[in-house]
Amino acid sequence: MFTLVNGLTTGMAVFLVAAGLTLVFGIMRILNFAHGAFFMIGAYVASSLVGSAPRSVLALIAAAVVAALVVGVLGIVVQRFILRRIQHVDEHYMLIATFAVMLVCVGFVKLVWGLEFLSVDPPPGIDAGVEIAGLFIPSFSLFIIASGIVVFLVLDFVIHRAWAGKMITAIARDGWMAELLGINVPAGIMAAVGGSFALAGLAGGLLLPNQTLSPALGDSFLLLAFITVVIGGLGNVRGAFIAAILLGVIDGLNTMFLPAYPGVVVYFAMVAFLLLWPNGILGESRL
C-alpha cells in the first residue's frame, strides 16, 4: 500500500517533468534533449527566490510560477533564435540543437550557481507527515501528487476543451489552414512553445524540496521523462499521465520484490511496452 502511494508520488513527479516534454513534441515534433536542463534551471531559479527554507507553501508555488515564467521566456528565446531557424531543414538537426542547448545550459548553471549541492526544504505545512488509515504518508508526497493531478487537469482542459487548445491543435494539424481561418500562427506557436517550456520550469520549482540541486539534476529525471513520454504516446498528455503512474508503481514494486536490482525493472517494462504497443498506450497525438 505504502509502495503504491510512493509509486504515485514518483509517477506524479515524473509526470510534472514529462508534461512539457510531450507538449513540445506535440507542437514541434522534436524530442527536446534540453528539457532536463530547463527543468534544472527552473529549480535553481526558484531556489534563488525562496532560499533554503521557503516560508510557506504559497511562497514555494509563487517561486515555481516565476521559475516557469523565466524558463518559458528562455524557451521562447531558444525557439525564436535557434529552433525556428532550422525548422525547415531536417528534424534531426533540431535534436542536435537541443543537445547543444542542453550543454550550454549545464555550463551556464555551473558558472552561475557553482557545483556545490544546494538543498531546499519543504515549506512549513507540508514538511511533516499525515496518517491516513494507519499509513504514514509525508505531506510533501501529497503535495506532489496534488500538483501532478492539478497540472494534468488544467492541461487536459486547455487542450481538449478551451479555445486556446483548439487553436493550438488547429495550428499543429494544419498551419496553412489555421492561417486561413485568421489565426495568428507565429504568435500561437510562440505561446504554445513558451507554455510547454514553462512547464519544465514549473516542475523544477514545485519539485524543488524533493531532491538536491546539482548541475547533474537534469539527468536524473530526463531519462524517466523520455520513457514516460514514449510509453504514453508521443505528444499525448493523457498517455503520459497514465504512463507516469504506471512507471512509478512499477518502480515501487521493483524495490519491494527485487531490492537487489533497484531501477532496473523500469527498463524491462519499457521494452515490453514498446513491443506490445509500438505507438504508446494511447497512441501518438499530434496535439
Binding site: 510512493n6 527554507a53 514538511d127 524533493n210 539527468d219
Partner: protein, 414 residues
C-alpha cells in the same frame, strides 16, 4: 561556490595562449619542474575534480613562495580526464609526450586503471590522489604509483570499530548504499570493523544486508521506509553527494532523527551540512580525510586552510583539498631530496621520506605504496545557536596503520 573571476580569467587566458601558440608549453620547459595533474573537470565528477585542482594549486603557490624545488619553480599543467579512462589516457599521453614525468591523478578508479599500465613506458612517477579502491595497491599495483588516499578497509574498518566503541549498546545496524558494485567494499569494511570490535568486547551484533538505491535517482522514499521498517537503531549510509542529501531530506519527514540512535554517513562530511543548513540531521557522523580543526598543532594544515579560505571564502574545505595539496607536496619534496625526476631515484626517496603535510607526516608502506595516515571522524548536526544552522560536535581520530589491509601487491586481496 562563487566563481573566482581572477582565477577564471587566468586559466582562460592561459588556454587561449596555448591555443594560439602550441609551442608555448615547450618554451616554458627550461628550468621549471612540471607536474601534470589529471582530474575530472567536466561532468558529474567535476565537483571533486575542482577540489583537487584547488588543493594542488594551493600547494604549488606555497611551494613556489618558499623558493620552489632546488631553485626551480613548480609548474602545474592541468588536464580534464573527461570522466572517462580514454580521456585520462589522452591527457596522460599528451603530457608525457611533452616530457612531463611527474603526475598526480585522481577522482575515479577506472580512470587511474587506464593510466597505470602506461607509467613504465614514459618513466613516470605518480601520486594517486584520494583514491580508495583496493585494486590500485593490490591487483593493479604499480611500483611507480603511490596511493595518497585512504583504502576502504582502513577508513571504513576504522569507522566500524569506532562506532562499536562509542555505541556498544547498539546490537543491530542497517546499511544503505548506491547500486554501485564498487561500494560493496565500503559496507563490507564497515561491518567487518564493527564485528571485530564487538567480538573483542564479547558482544554480538546483527548487521543487515545493505538496502540498494539506484545511483543518481530522484526518489528514495521506498528505500527509506524499508530502512525505517527494519527497526535497527544504527544506520550506515553509503550514498554519494546529491543522492545522500536528497536521501536525508526525504527521510526527514519520516522522522529519521527519532528513528535512529546513530546515523553514520560514509564520506560526504560537510557537503551535507553546507547544503541542508538548519535542516541538517540532529546528529550525523562522517569520515573525513582532512579536517583542519582536528589538526590544530599542524602548521601546514593551518596554512592550507587559510589559503583555501582566501581562495574560495569557504571555512570548511573538502578533504580532497588537503589530500591533493599533500600529493603535490610529496612529489616536490622527493624531487628536491633526490635531485632528479627519474622514477628510479624518486621511488626510493618517496618510500623513505615522510614530509610534513596538511594530513600529518606523509609516509607510504614500502611493500604496496599504501598510505596509512590518521583516520578522522566528525560528528556534526543541526544547531540553532550557530548562524549557519549547524555545528561540529565532536571529532575522533584513530591511527590508520592499525586498520590498513594486508599488503598483497600484484594480486587480489582475499
Amino acid at each position: 561556490m562563487r566563481l573566482n573571476r581572477r582565477h577564471f580569467l587566468t586559466t582562460t587566458a592561459a588556454g587561449i595562449g596555448a591555443l594560439a601558440m602550441p609551442g608555448i608549453l615547450r618554451a616554458a620547459q627550461g628550468d621549471t619542474v612540471r607536474i601534470g595533474l589529471i582530474t575530472t573537470l567536466s561532468g558529474p565528477g567535476q565537483l571533486y575534480g575542482n577540489y583537487i585542482k584547488d588543493g594542488s594549486e594551493i600547494a604549488v603557490e606555497r611551494l613556489n613562495a618558499a623558493g620552489g624545488v632546488n631553485g626551480s619553480k613548480i609548474e602545474l599543467v592541468v588536464r580534464d580526464d573527461k570522466n572517462s579512462p580514454e580521456g585520462a589516457v589522452t591527457a596522460f599521453r599528451e603530457l608525457t609526450g611533452d616530457g612531463i614525468k611527474l603526475f598526480a591523478q585522481g577522482t575515479f578508479t577506472a580512470n587511474l586503471l587506464g593510466t597505470l599500465p602506461l607509467l613504465e613506458e614514459a618513466d613516470v612517477t605518480m601520486m594517486m590522489v584520494g583514491a580508495s579502491a583496493l585494486a590500485l595497491t593490490h591487483e593493479a599495483y604499480n611500483p611507480r604509483a603511490f596511493r595518497l588516499g585512504f583504502s576502504s578497509p582502513m577508513c571504513f574498518g576504522g569507522y566500524g570499530n569506532l562506532m562499536a566503541q562509542k555505541h556498544p549498546e547498539i546490537e543491530k545496524w542497517a546499511m544503505l548504499r548506491s547500486d554501485v558494485t564498487a561500494l560493496a567494499d565500503i559496507t563490507n569494511a564497515f561491518s567487518n570493523g564493527l564485528k571485530a570490535e564487538k567480538v573483542k568486547a564479547g558482544r554480538t551484533v546483527e548487521i543487515l544486508d545493505p538496502v540498494l538505491v539506484p545511483y543518481g535517482g530522484a526518489d528514495f522514499r521506498n528505500q527509506i521506509s524499508n530502512i525505517i521498517g527494519s527497526g535497527a537503531p544504527g544506520l550506515f549510509n553509503v550514498l554519494q553527494g546529491a543522492d545522500a542529501i536528497s536521501y536525508y531530506k526525504q527521510a526527514r519527514t519520516f522522522g529519521l532523527d527519532q528513528k535512529f540512535k546513530v546515523l553514520c554517513d560514509s564520506a560526504n562530511e560537510f557537503a551535507i551540512a553546507k547544503a541542508m543548513g538548519a535542516n541538517t540531521p540532529a546528529s550525523l557522523w562522517s569520515w573525513t580525510g582532512w579536517y583542519p580543526a582536528a589538526n590544530k598543532d599542524n602548521a601546514v594544515s593551518d596554512e592550507v586552510h587559510k589559503a583555501y579560505i582566501k581562495l574560495r571564502g569557504d571555512e570548511y574545505p573538502n578533504w580532497y583539498i588537503g589530500v591533493s595539496h599533500d600529493s603535490i607536496l610529496t612529489i616536490a619534496n622527493a624531487v628536491q631530496k633526490a635531485g632528479s625526476m627519474e622514477a628510479a631515484k624518486l621511488i626510493p626517496t618517496i618510500e623513505t621520506e615522510a614530509p610534513q603535510g596538511a594530513l600529518g607526516k606523509i609516509h607510504f608502506r614500502k611493500e604496496d605504496h599504501g598510505f596509512a595516515g590518521d583516520l578522522t571522524y566528525i560528528r556534526f548536526g543541526r544547531d540553532d545557536k550557530n548562524a549557519n544552522g549547524w555545528s561540529v560536535f565532536e571529532t575522533a581520530q584513530l591511527p590508520g596503520a592499525e586498520f590498513l589491509e594486508r599488503a598483497t601487491p600484484g594480486s587480489k586481496l582475499n
